[in-house]
Symmetry: none
Subunit: 227 residues, 4 copies
Amino acid sequence: MGSVKTKRMPRAVRERQMLDAAVQTFGRRGYMAASMDEIAELAGVSKPLVYLYLNSKDELFTACIRREAAALTEAVRAGVRPGFSADRQLWEGLCAFFTHTAQNPDGWSILHLRARTHGESFAAEVTAMREDIVALVTQLIAAAARDGGSPCSNDGGNPGHRGSGLPEREIAGLAEALVGAAESLAAWANATPGVSARQAAATLMNFAWAGLGNLMEGRSWSPPEPD
Amino acid sequence: MGSVKTKRMPRAVRERQMLDAAVQTFGRRGYMAASMDEIAELAGVSKPLVYLYLNSKDELFTACIRREAAALTEAVRAGVRPGFSADRQLWEGLCAFFTHTAQNPDGWSILHLRARTHGESFAAEVTAMREDIVALVTQLIAAAARDGGSPCSNDGGNPGHRGSGLPEREIAGLAEALVGAAESLAAWANATPGVSARQAAATLMNFAWAGLGNLMEGRSWSPPEPD
Amino acid sequence: MGSVKTKRMPRAVRERQMLDAAVQTFGRRGYMAASMDEIAELAGVSKPLVYLYLNSKDELFTACIRREAAALTEAVRAGVRPGFSADRQLWEGLCAFFTHTAQNPDGWSILHLRARTHGESFAAEVTAMREDIVALVTQLIAAAARDGGSPCSNDGGNPGHRGSGLPEREIAGLAEALVGAAESLAAWANATPGVSARQAAATLMNFAWAGLGNLMEGRSWSPPEPD
Amino acid sequence: MGSVKTKRMPRAVRERQMLDAAVQTFGRRGYMAASMDEIAELAGVSKPLVYLYLNSKDELFTACIRREAAALTEAVRAGVRPGFSADRQLWEGLCAFFTHTAQNPDGWSILHLRARTHGESFAAEVTAMREDIVALVTQLIAAAARDGGSPCSNDGGNPGHRGSGLPEREIAGLAEALVGAAESLAAWANATPGVSARQAAATLMNFAWAGLGNLMEGRSWSPPEPD
DNA sequence: TATGAATGAGAGTTCATTCAT
DNA sequence: GATGAATGAACTCTCATTCAT
């Protein structure tokens, strides 16, 4: 005698549906332009249920950020497996990164675009994740410097500079720059049809590894004297 | 004590005030979160006057984009003065760029963040400006390649490669990458206290000029064979 | 004391309340002067609910027009029951018409005044209804002409003219004129206290049926020669 | 040294321009939808000047009504010249009426549509004018009844009923109906291309004079007994 | 567990109207 | 005599959020 239409589902499943819908909507429209109505409809549930499970638009957005941040971090970490050379690890990490962002454009949009442009607390969530990844990259660069192998895997290395290393501050700057460049490239690769994750990664390795090599060898460009 | 409510000003002045207020508000809050009320109040006028002069939120936003795009382009062009070597011109242009974005963070936020995430027509305005700048950079790189001098201005040059040049397509790609990197760095420099425009410019010159040199010499990083 | 604020009603009921309120408000004030606030308040609900159910002022107005047009058409059709003589049917139809417009002055105001003076699409709704009714009247007049009986039901008829009939075009013109006259009379009857629906109908029958008789007999007034 | 553009004009001329613009705008858009901005622009003056001369939207509208009412009354009176037979006078009056409304559609729209649907005070202005005209028509009908000539100018008359007259109440009702019919017809004639004023007048004379004749001869349609 | 019914608050926009010159 | 500059108030419409069941 009960309604046939009602579908009771375990909480975890419902919550996942809602988050999926929310990620898609926030990712495509942005925080403000996304409406709870649209999210609820896309999730196939009523609005009060969304509030029952996720409390408010703010918390829903935060939950999206956390889930997507965790997924991305996890994907990158899974790529960077110890036991290989530093440049190989970086390469694999980049591939994982570009693959994941290409497969989850909405999630990446939330992390890269939407969360950073809407309130300190949201930005802080992303910043935390970013720092995790920067730390990972920093380790890799430092390892490469320690290993002494020239980071350019195919030119025979430059033994004379082994171990001389770079000051920690430089390494941090480089890691920062590399991550920033990767973020930029991901947006570009997602928007440009026909650019694969491996191509994006190769482009970046070329650009970065070359500059890195030069710097480790002590060569640098210096500005002209101001007039 | 405090500001007296100034009244009855010529239209041009009021319009400027409104644009100033709008740039600040849009830049900090984003298009959707910025309210016409807030803009009007910040400009010190009533809302109807904003509509009388600027017609709608859309048109007001567009006016902001145009004004800021023109100002930025102008600043960069003023920096890149012919008569110097290509690398010097690039350096000056980057300094002008980082200086301008540091001094106009709200305007830069509109161009880099807000306009690109809100509707095709807004993004198109920015894309037009960006293409102007990419073209400028492309010219500089091509000039450097023609000059035959190694782009690293302080290592004596590499006469063997003079004129061999890079294919046009490569140059365009490099320009694109360089501009993208500059955009990324500007956001970072603005957000990180203690990073001057010159430092940001130097970082980028080092990174890019070195990579450029490697590429011109035919050296590149190549990925490992997949397992 | 006074009405308790009734709450939580099924959608159909609320929607009816809103339409009632809207018909009254639009009918008395006109489309532009009626405010959604006023309608919502009269309906005893909040504005958002009106929008939730009826989408926009335009659609709400259209819904009013449709409901009132259907009600009026239905009332007239119910009056004109086949099986009686044509003049009797016309008489009953007119009575029904005047009765209905007298009992629903706001609805009639919408159909006769407001919808026709506000935008083609609204006017088209009313025109459609009007054409229905004109067609009905045309049938009745044609039937009367076919019956051959003089339309004056109490003067013994005029056998000599049986079947000679009127050209179709004339009949259509007469129907148009009769409906137009009825519309005018309805407004007048509503505005003049002490004029019953039956009186209005009788006045019109006298006026129209006599003219119709004259025309069928070929008598007509002709203008003097211009000076 | 003064500005060439300023055109000083005598008050009467300016006021006329404003009224012309107002009549056109009110007539086409209706009271609410007409904006003072549009009127001022159409009149070629600034808004404050409109307020200086005509005080408010309400007063401006009233001024329009009065001017157009006076013009219409004047036109009809000029048509109805004593010395002719009653039906001829009525005919000329109708011609004048239809001609004037056709030549001043905006003014007629104000009188017939707009003023009557916006507030008692506006409607009262029109009612006053209408009563003037109804009185005029009443006189003509009464005169026709007194003259004893059958109102049907071309069928030889019906001497038997001369002077028997109609009760005053009947005459008033007829005049009312005739004026109402004329109003309806005017709107229809204006909206239908190819219908001249004379045609509209002839249509109405035919319709009305015939019914009037029948009534004067004591023939009338009577309703069936209610069930 | 799940939802139909309902709203307070605020968004963008327009308009009649008035100063100050 | 004439106007550029300016606004209070009201309008249509949307949205995050909550009851009552």
